[in-house]
């Protein structure tokens, strides 16, 4: 019967109920979208790194594991790495961020193609000129690019020479030498990819290279890509929790105001229940159940909305952002919404539970 009353109360004010559900849904979507973006971008980066086909990755000293911290001299490839036994190919690349979410990657195709046979083109082909750029089909689709088109990036005009299958290294690839000159990094690279003759030799080569390149970061590709999680990106976890906390506060305040209004509106009904012998716990229980229904339905709506945000980001936002759907976060985001909402319902709930029945019955 309590559930019936809860359901009827929610049905009685459909607009308020829908707004409540929507606000909680948005709160849940906000959390899921942020978490989904973190995972999506990192998974995508890991998958593109794996797509290179290298066995070992070398980064210069400094920076975090995932975020490149600087440059190293390109000549370590011929001077140190190529001379290492079992190394069959090595290629340096330079990464240059063009905005918050996009970056150009400079590649020397002559050495890079030896790692796994090179890019697989859907249209056009490799660079012909120093100002040529190759883009993956995702980027080309987002920006409506075709082979032969010219785009401006980093204050430079690039001609699209080819469109390749996604999942290989980066979205925008330009000749290494051109990017080095443009960014005043002549002779420098930010990552070196290494291929060895046999997977059994990977550990040995890593050990040798680590010994020779003391402060450099030398990883097997397997170890490197396994590190692509929000926990390994500086500040990202903190940032996620800040957003989650904001979500909790927003949910709390929303439910507080909604339930406060509901309690005021229902003063008389609460008086009736009290006259019938309802205990303060009974009244509180009704309001908390109503809130729990709002929060649970809101969480489900939030999960569904996260598919909408993914669609929007994928189709309408022209960036390299990829939002993953992370079902392991569904119960977390839902629990956050439910707890925030229940906390918000407590204050009006206690007000209702303590209401004087005579005053309540006299309320019009």
């Amino acid at each position: 019967m309590t559930n019936k009353l809860v359901f009827e109360n929610l049905k009685h004010r459909p607009v308020r109920t829908l707004i409540g559900i929507l606000i909680i849904g948005i709160q849940v979507t906000m959390v899921l979208t942020l978490v989904g973006l973190s995972h999506g971008v990192l998974n995508e980066s890991a998958s593109r790194a794996r797509g290179v086909g290298a066995d070992i990755l070398i980064r210069p000293p400094g920076g975090s594991i995932i975020v490149s911290g600087g440059q190293m001299l390109e000549k370590i490839v011929p001077v140190v790495i190529d001379k290492e036994p079992h190394v069959t190919a090595a290629s340096g690349t330079l990464i240059f961020g063009t905005d918050l979410f996009n970056y150009l990657t400079g590649v020397d195709l002559a050495t890079f193609d030896r790692l796994n046979g090179g890019f697989r083109f859907l249209q056009g082909g490799p660079f012909q000129q120093p100002d040529d750029m190759m883009v993956d089909s995702v980027y080309a689709g987002q920006h409506h690019l075709r082979v032969g088109d010219t785009i401006k990036n980093t204050n430079h005009n690039w001609r699209i020479s080819g469109i390749f299958e996604p999942g290989m290294l980066a979205r925008m690839v330009v000749p290494l030498a051109t990017l080095q000159d443009l960014t005043e990094n002549t002779g420098k690279v930010s990552t070196v990819y290494v291929k060895v003759d046999n997977p059994a030799n990977i550990a040995g080569v890593i050990s040798e290279l680590s010994g020779k390149l003391k402060a450099y970061k030398v990883y097997s590709m397997e170890d490197y890509t396994s590190l692509f999680s929000p926990a390994n990106v500086p500040m990202l976890t903190s940032f996620i929790w800040v957003v989650v906390s904001v979500g909790v506060v927003v949910g709390f305040l929303m439910v507080l105001s909604t339930m406060y209004t509901a309690v005021l509106e229902r003063t008389r009904e609460i008086g009736i229940l009290k006259a019938l012998g309802a205990s303060p716990e009974y009244i509180l229980n009704i309001l908390l159940r109503e809130t729990a229904v709002l929060a649970i339905v809101g969480s489900i709506v939030g999960i569904l909305l996260s598919y909408v945000t993914r669609f929007v980001i994928q189709n309408l936002v022209h960036s390299s952002l990829v939002q993953a759907i992370v079902p392991t976060w569904w119960p977390i985001a839902g629990a956050i919404a439910v707890v925030g909402a229940l906390l918000g319902a407590l204050v009006p709930g206690f007000k209702a539970a303590r209401q004087d029945p005579i005053e309540a019955l006299a309320y019009d």
């Binding site: 019967m1 009353l5 009736i272 229940l273 019938l276 012998g277 309802a278």
Partner: protein, 225 residues
């Protein structure tokens, strides 16, 4: 409670309300006994203290002084939880404004009183007979807004007695009804009293309505005359 003892025993009841800096004496020493199975009408003009007496006997508000015993138990010697328990099982209220929950059907309004008293499940078969007596058995699935005033008040009476309370407290139960519906409701209360032995304490300012009771108690200026 032993045989011959009143079901309700009120002694020296006083109630003072503080309205700003002014003290209003709503009850100025009321003594009243109501026997089990008695139908007592309390009559008096507005401001005579009838409603205050009703609220105190129903355990909705405490007196300033005096005692109220129901079934030999001191109402205000109890804890809040005990008084709440008493409202569930010992006292049933009927109000002038019906006070049905607008979002629930007539049946659910009755069932929620059972739910509050921890009695689950559908209405017991013997209670269906009471609903027939009240003439609302065909209107149970309607929401209050679809019922006439007389029907709403009959649902409110059904709700008040569904837990078989010792006392039915009715505050101006015909105050919002036309003559025909008033007579029907008063006849029903009379029927509940004579057929089921329901003890009823009814407040009214209408002398004709008061005539349905076994005994009429007149109140004026916080006293029983």
């Amino acid at each position: 409670m032993t045989d011959g003892q009143p079901l309700i025993s009120i002694r020296g009841l006083r109630k003072t309300y503080h309205a700003g800096e002014v003290d209003v004496q709503a009850l100025r020493g009321v003594d009243l006994d109501v026997q089990p199975g008695e139908f007592v009408s309390i009559v008096g003009p507005s401001g005579s203290g009838k409603s205050t007496l009703f609220h105190i006997v129903g355990g909705l508000t405490p007196p300033t002084a005096g005692t109220v015993q129901i079934g030999g138990r001191d109402l205000f010697g109890m804890s809040d939880a005990e008084r709440t328990e008493l409202r569930k099982n010992t006292v049933g209220f009927v109000f002038q404004k019906y006070n049905l929950l607008p979002t629930l059907s007539a049946r659910e309004n009755i069932e929620i009183a059972r739910d509050i008293a921890h009695k689950n499940g559908p209405l017991p078969p013997q209670f269906l007979e009471v609903l027939r007596l009240l003439g609302i058995e065909a209107r149970l699935d309607h929401k209050p807004r679809a019922l006439s005033g007389g029907e709403q008040q009959r649902v409110a009476i059904a709700r008040a007695i569904v837990n078989q309370p010792s006392i039915l407290l009715a505050d101006e139960p015909t105050g919002n009804l036309d003559t025909e519906n008033s007579n029907a409701v008063l006849g029903l209360l009379r029927g509940l009293n004579t057929r089921l032995g329901q003890t009823i304490l009814m407040i009214t300012h209408n002398p004709e309505a008061a005539g349905y009771g076994d005994r009429i108690v007149h109140m004026r200026d916080g006293h029983i005359e």
